[in-house]
């Protein structure tokens, strides 16, 4: 991965890149080109492209950064690429033909033969042709033809979706290890899943697991964020299933895959602004994922923190976030900002950090679009906290804390007051904001304390009922069993 990138602005490209597919890193690098010198990035790109099949693109880059002709490895590589492409295409031809012939396909689907076994029986397409097809898809992906790869993978996956009954299990022939994501999924255990969201797949083998990853990857590169979100969930589900299953992913592997997932998710979430913000928080806040972040990728906390700050509705998660921050050995301006504001209550420090944040965000591939939003929300956040513990605030100090002109600050506060999100008044003679008394009366406290009790009790009764029902059911069954024994 491109280690050579300088890191003046808490740049995470290299750290994130470590958990991404080479193809994903390319856009990151292109973005980084604006910050760092293009030659450095070019070299990084080149070293990246060596691992892919995009020879022509590599040559182009090579020439761009001042190389003459072609790099010496390119000729060789091109030859092997072409050769592999040939063999794979030939190998997969039988299946590809059927896929191409929509009427034939329809017929097969209707005849309930659209599965590995069914194809073998009805039209004599062997499992290895299908396997080759899958490999070809991966190969196309490596070549940068994501669209084709995606379509092929779709076709491949559809084979494994059970139509009615008895069409599963054909994948026992295809349990070779694969690595769509540079991973080593050397498991060939199939995990059983019931009514599942992973595109209706019932059996997720290592191969299918890889295919799911591949699909997600394609969607990310194609920029279809909504679909990518679905694919992401499928992969997540697949990881859950496979790490739970005996002989599936080992603890370490599942940790690793989770880390990848969290990284890949960055593309999906930050480019899908509406749903993404909620999704990222939900995903990252899951216990297992938090563990993955803590152990493998503390830098992801930046994105989590940003998401929480930007997304007001999820502010409640901040407390948890602070906990995680305490446990991680990672610091960048965004994290420090949260730390200052929420742990140390050091408003000046927070202000300084916020300024640092601005530049960091602007150079972050995922966050640069959100910079403005972030700054605004962060400012409000500071102000809220500040107000909460003060009863009288000098506007000048406040303006300083918010890095605004006093007049702007005043206007800003007036706006807030007017929007009724703030119980305060401005004393213009002293140039102060005077906060309204926010202490709860005793009655309020009692009400607060007992507010949810009814609901909780109701819930409790429900739980109890269902529990009783379970117990009775069990007893009944036992009795029956005993009777049968007799």
């Amino acid at each position: 991965m491109p280690e050579s990138l300088a890191n003046p602005l808490h740049d995470l490209t290299s750290r994130i890149g470590a958990s991404l597919d080479p193809h994903h890193v390319l856009p990151l690098l292109e973005f980084a080109e604006t910050n760092v010198g293009s030659s450095v990035v070019g070299e990084a790109k080149l070293s990246l492209l060596k691992h892919t099949n995009m020879v022509d693109y590599a040559v182009e880059i090579y020439q761009k950064i001042g190389g003459k002709g072609e790099p010496e490895w390119s000729g060789e590589k091109r030859k092997t690429v072409m050769a592999t492409l040939d063999t794979l295409t030939k190998g997969a031809k039988a299946f590809a033909d059927i896929v191409g012939d929509s009427s034939k396909k329809k017929e097969l689907v209707q005849g309930n033969n659209w599965s590995v076994q069914g194809l073998d029986k009805s039209v004599g397409v062997k499992a290895d042709a299908i396997e080759n097809y899958r490999k070809l898809a991966k190969f196309q992906y490596e070549c940068g033809d994501y669209e084709t790869a995606y379509n092929m993978l779709e076709n491949y996956l559809s084979l494994f979706v059970p139509q009615q009954k008895g069409s599963q299990g054909g994948d026992s022939a295809v349990d070779t290890a694969d690595d769509y994501s540079g991973s080593a999924n050397n498991n060939n255990m199939s995990a059983n899943a019931k009514n599942m969201p992973a595109f209706g797949l019932t059996d997720i083998t290592a191969t299918l697991h890889g295919v799911l990853w591949g699909k997600l990857s394609c969607l990310i590169l194609m920029g279809k964020w909504d679909e990518a979100m679905v694919a992401l969930n499928a992969v997540k589900y697949s990881i859950d299933v496979r790490s739970g299953a005996e002989g599936g992913l080992s603890a370490l592997q599942s940790l690793k895959e989770r880390t990848w997932l969290l990284h890949w998710g960055l593309f999906v979430f930050w480019n899908n602004s509406k749903k993404g913000l909620d999704a990222i928080i939900d995903l990252y806040m899951q216990d297992k994922n938090i563990q993955a972040i803590q152990t493998n990728a503390p830098h992801l906390l930046r994105y989590l923190a940003s998401a929480i700050i930007i997304n007001k509705r999820k502010r409640a998660n901040l407390k948890d976030l602070v906990k995680f921050i305490n446990h991680c050995d990672y610091a960048d301006p965004i994290i420090q900002f949260v730390d200052c504001l929420y742990v140390k209550f050091d408003f000046e420090g927070a202000q300084q950090k916020l300024q640092a944040c601005e530049s960091v965000l602007a150079t972050d591939f995922f966050l640069h679009n959100q910079t403005k939003l972030f700054m605004e929300e962060a400012r409000v956040f500071i102000f809220e906290n500040y107000c909460r513990i003060h009863q009288k605030i000098d506007i000048a100090t406040l303006a300083e804390k918010l890095s605004m002109q006093p007049e702007d600050a005043e206007r800003w506060i007036v706006d807030l007051i007017r929007n009724a999100s703030l119980d305060a008044k401005i004393d213009s003679t002293e140039n102060c904001v005077i906060m309204g008394h926010t202490t709860h009366s005793v009655y309020q406290q009692v009400i607060n304390k007992t507010k949810d009790l009814t609901a909780r009790s109701g819930n409790l009764t429900n739980n109890f009922k269902s529990y009783l029902g379970d117990v009775r059911e069990k007893e009944r069954r036992e009795r029956e069993a005993a009777r049968e024994m007799e």
Binding site: V322, H327, H390, K392, D394, T450
Partner: protein, 1007 residues
């Protein structure tokens, strides 16, 4: 043991039981041997036995003459009996002769020729009478039995004399080989139960002549032997008496028990060799190690002479030793292993000797012998609480490392575990050989050269031929008994055991500690071999042992110890060196006596760092990660625990904690039921806690420490037995004793307690202040233990100046409660225990941490306690009072305000704290409390249902986000499963260890 046998047998010597009568003969022979002048306990029972034949004639004669006469008298008797075919009488006389001969042999006298003649005659006679079936039938029952007995006896007995006898027969008498052969082969089948008497008597009686190997040469050594025996027959018996309980008697016993091994009897001849060698070896060893202090000086001298003599003999033998012989001897010794009455120590000695002899044949021969030697060394501890003596341990370690080195230097060598089939095969081969040998005893001719060969040569030739047929790989595959890995495990066990049994304050303990280096080295050698052969499970096992012997050392110490060991191995003890060479200005210069002390001339003794040696950290990481990859579950757990502890020792709290969290051990350890692992877990938690404490992570430290440190700390760490708990029986107590942590690995209990109490104090004091201030009606107890201590302290009528650690902390607590942080700090800043923390400036560091925390908590306590008395507080005054930065105070106070723990707010422009105190009426207060109680009731109901149904109701909970605090308690985290976390005990058997589910520091401290 022979005592009992003797008594037994003397009473039943005439019984019909063959084996018994045999034993009697053995006992008799033994007894007479010993009577010859020893002072051992044999005397006690010699009087009881009635075998005083040789005392009949009381004329003063030389011992030899006397005995010869006795023999002759018996012989006449016997010949007479033979004439009348009174086999009973023959048997009797023969036994007597044997007895006397026994003594004769011990006296170092060679066999008289008439004796040989007699033997031949007797043998012929018996075989003849056996052939005479008709005559046999006519015999009376007693006589018949006696004949049978004789047949067996003589067959055994003459084994030792075959050479002399054949020589004799070849010379004066026409041989009757056929008869001879017949008799022996026919008796083959039923010679089961009675290998005894002969085997002892002959193994004892003719080591000497056999050692001389050939009867032709008999004349010369005879004279020599005579001289020696005449000159000091006493000395011989002396040395015998020393050995008699060591090898002489037990050896005979070892044979006497080898009931059904024909092999064994066949091998007798070789075994004798070994014995002579053993004498040598043993004496040499004894003399060398100076363990013979009890002996008198002159005896020692004589021993040494003897040793020298027999050593020369032994060396002579070494030249004629062959691989086949070594193998045979080995089998012989090994088959006697574990038999009744065989002492492991004797076997060890025999094997040691054999081992020496086998060196010349290279590793392929030596390794099996070494393996057996190691086995026998381990065999010496009979009982589970026994441990190997350090010297044996060292030699054992040396043997293992020798094997490992062989394996290292010759990469083609491979060890193969001998399985049951191999053993069977071996025995079959032996039998086969034996029968075939018996058949063509006469014609032992080398088919290649046409020369005559004896059985040993033949065996050797066969072996060589067999070896040449083997493929390369087979040749380098050594079948050996036992695996190196198992040896290492046991070696380590013995080492730990010996540390447990040695008093930690004795110099022996310190000396013993040095062996850890040896152990580690051997471990790495052996694991290297397994790594090469790709046996990952073994490597994992060995790596775990390595880990367990290195994880508890700080790198600094480990490196120092390592270099000290190297130094010692290169230059010897430091004390033994000349002080001059250790002086500062010792430099390697030309010797100028005027300027430089000669001892310092070659410079300071120093060892150069070997660039190949890995740093301790590297070793630990390697070992651990290997185990994670290849070890079994249990090994992984141990490795992780060691690894975490190692991180904790080196102040890497985060790494340790992450490792712990990833392993999820805190959840599973309690149900693992594996006490040693629990103990290790407790040790790990404590170390981690201390680490957190050093780093100023008070909350984490407290959580790590509280479970283990709250009660029965010593027991939970296996650092001493606790008296309470009378329900322990002796078995449990023993088991607990076995689990004890060796002293040098123990953690300082005082330090643990201090850290625990101080962290509890820092957390609990503000908490208590808050409670008493009534701001929050809910009682949240962090540390029950600490509160109890405080209560006890408060209950005292007179409070004297603090004496022990706990008193200091309690006094400090009092001061802190009053908001007097300075006194509080001073009370605990100078505790002695801080000096126990390793590392440069550790004490200062701790003091700094303590000061900061005490200030902060003091401020919080102050605010809780006295805020009611203020309307407003200036920031400056607080800054002054607590000697903190303004920003710090601001941050602490802000936090309190933010969390509504302090009902106040800042007045921005003047930076003062303005209290918003609401005076609540009594009714309001009660209402608050009541609502609180109701909430609690609901909550506890929920808990009850949860506990019953097993679900923690996460899904149902999400709707109510208001009570963030109680939601938090349930989040996974450090297995912070509070409900059943409090008083868990895992008493299995000896209540030895309890891994208490740790609840590290995931919960947020910043409430």
């Amino acid at each position: 043991m022979s005592k009992f046998w003797a008594n037994d047998s003397s009473s039943s010597s005439n019984s019909e039981n063959e084996s018994d009568s045999d034993n009697s003969s053995s006992s008799e022979s033994d007894s007479s041997v010993k009577k010859a002048g020893d002072t051992t306990n044999a005397n006690r029972w010699v009087m009881d036995s009635d075998s005083s034949d040789d005392d009949e004639i009381r004329v003063v004669k030389s011992g030899k003459d006397r005995r010869n006469e006795a023999i002759k008298a018996d012989e006449t008797k016997m010949r007479n009996a033979m004439k009348v075919k009174d086999f009973n009488a023959v048997d009797d006389s023969f036994k007597k002769i044997q007895t006397v001969m026994e003594k004769q042999r011990v006296g170092g006298v060679d066999l008289p020729s008439f004796y040989i003649r007699m033997l031949c005659d007797l043998e012929d006679f018996i075989s003849a009478s056996l052939k005479d079936k008709a005559g046999f039938k006519k015999l009376s029952a007693t006589n018949g039995r006696a004949l049978n007995r004789m047949k067996l006896q003589i067959r055994k007995y003459i084994k030792g004399f075959t050479e002399q006898m054949t020589a004799f027969r070849a010379n004066p008498v026409v041989s009757e080989d056929e008869a001879d052969d017949d008799s022996s082969s026919s008796s083959d089948s039923d010679s089961d139960s009675d290998s005894d008497s002969d085997s002892d008597s002959d193994s004892d009686s003719d080591a000497e002549p056999k050692a001389k190997a050939k009867p032709k040469e008999a004349a010369k050594p005879k004279a020599k032997a005579k001289a020696s025996s005449d000159s000091d027959s006493d000395s011989d018996s002396d040395s015998d008496s020393d050995e008699s309980d060591d090898w002489g008697s037990s050896d005979s016993d070892s044979d006497s028990d080898s009931s059904d091994d024909d092999i064994n009897t066949q091998l007798k001849g070789r075994a004798r060799w070994v014995k002579t060698a053993v004498v040598v070896k043993e004496k040499v060893v004894k003399d060398k190690e100076g363990r013979a202090e009890k002996r008198k000086q002159d005896k020692e001298k004589r021993d040494a002479e003897n040793a020298a003599k027999s050593k020369s003999k032994f060396l002579e033998k070494e030249a004629t030793m062959t691989v086949a012989l070594v193998e045979k001897n080995l089998n012989d010794i090994v088959t006697s292993r574990g038999k009744r009455g065989v002492r492991a120590s004797d076997l060890t000695r025999q094997l040691e000797a054999l081992c020496k002899m086998s060196i010349q044949f290279g590793p392929t021969v030596e390794i099996p012998v070494l393996m057996h030697l190691i086995n026998s060394q381990f065999d010496q501890n009979r009982n589970i609480d026994d441990y190997m003596s350090p010297s044996v341990w060292r030699s054992c370690a040396a043997s293992i490392s020798r094997i490992a080195n062989f394996l290292k230097n010759e990469p083609r060598l491979k060890l193969k575990l001998m399985d049951a089939d191999d053993f069977l095969e071996m025995q079959m081969k032996m039998k086969e050989k034996e029968t075939s040998k018996l058949k063509d005893k006469e014609v032992l001719i080398d088919p290649n050269t046409g020369e005559v060969e004896d059985e040993a040569q033949r065996a050797e030739r066969l072996r060589v031929e067999a070896a040449s047929k083997l493929s390369e790989e087979e040749r380098f595959t050594i079948k050996a008994a036992g695996s190196m890995c198992a040896f290492m495990v046991r070696l380590e066990e013995q080492y730990t055991k010996s540390l447990q049994k040695t008093s930690p304050h004795s110099p022996e303990y310190v000396v013993r500690l040095r062996d850890e280096g040896v152990l580690l080295e051997v471990l790495s050698l052996v694991s290297h071999y397994y790594e090469k052969t790709g046996m990952n499970t073994e490597v994992a096992e060995l790596n775990l042992l390595r880990l367990e012997h290195s994880y508890y050392k700080h790198d600094v110490i480990a490196v120092a110890v390592d270099s000290a060991t190297k130094f010692a191995s290169k230059f010897g003890e430091l004390e033994a060196l000349h002080p001059a060479c250790l002086s500062v200005n010792a430099k390697a210069t030309a010797v100028e006596p005027a300027k430089v002390h000669p001892a310092a001339a070659s410079g300071k003794p120093a060892i150069t760092a070997d660039p190949e040696t890995l740093s301790p950290q590297q070793i630990i990481t390697d070992c651990a990660s290997f185990i994670y990859a290849h070890g079994s579950e249990k090994e992984k757990v141990r490795a992780i625990l060691c690894h975490i502890t190692y991180h904790a020792i080196h102040d890497r709290f985060e790494e340790g904690r992450d490792l712990l969290l990833m392993s999820k051990l805190q959840d599973t350890i309690a149900i693992s039921n594996d006490i040693p692992n629990m103990i290790l877990f407790n040790r790990m938690m404590v170390t981690l806690g201390l680490c957190a404490f050093r780093k100023g992570k008070i909350w984490e430290a407290f959580n790590c420490l509280s479970d283990v440190a709250s009660s029965r700390l010593r027991e939970l760490l296996a650092q001493g037995l606790t008296k309470y708990g009378h329900d322990k029986n002796s078995e449990q107590e023993k088991a607990e004793r076995r689990r004890q942590t060796p002293y040098h690995q123990q953690l300082n209990v005082d330090l643990i307690e201090a850290s625990h109490l101080i962290s509890a104090m820092l957390l609990e004091v503000p908490n208590m202040a808050k409670e008493s201030a009534g701001g929050d009606n809910r009682k949240r107890v962090t540390s029950r233990y600490f509160r109890k201590q405080v209560e006890i302290y408060n209950r005292q009528i007179f409070t004297g100046p603090p004496e022990n650690t706990r008193d200091h902390i309690m006094a400090s607590t009092k001061a802190l409660q009053a908001g007097d942080w300075r006194t509080s700090y001073e009370m605990i800043a100078d505790l002695n225990v801080w000096q126990l923390i390793p590392g440069e400036g550790a004490k200062e560091n701790i003091q700094k941490v303590l000061m900061e925390n005490i200030k902060e908590q003091g401020l919080r306590t102050f605010l809780f306690t006295y805020s009611n008395n203020y309307d407003s507080l200036a920031l400056e005054s607080l800054v002054e009072k607590f000697d903190l930065e303004a920003s710090q105070v601001h941050s602490i106070v802000s936090k309190l305000m933010f969390n509504r723990e302090l009902l106040a707010s800042w007045d921005g422009p003047t930076s003062t704290i303005v209290m918003h105190r609401v005076h609540t009426s009594k009714l309001q207060n009660l209402a608050l409390q009541y609502s609180e109680k109701v909430a609690q009731l609901v909550e506890s109901n929920e808990k009850l249902l949860d506990a019953q149904s097993g679900t923690y109701g996460f899904s149902d909970r999400d709707f109510s986000n208001t009570g963030g605090s109680w939601n938090n308690n349930r989040r996974g985290g450090y297995g912070g499963n509070k409900f059943n976390n409090n008083r868990r005990r895992y008493n299995n058997g000896g209540r030895g260890g309890g891994g208490r589910g740790g609840k590290g520091g995931r919960r947020n401290h910043s409430n």
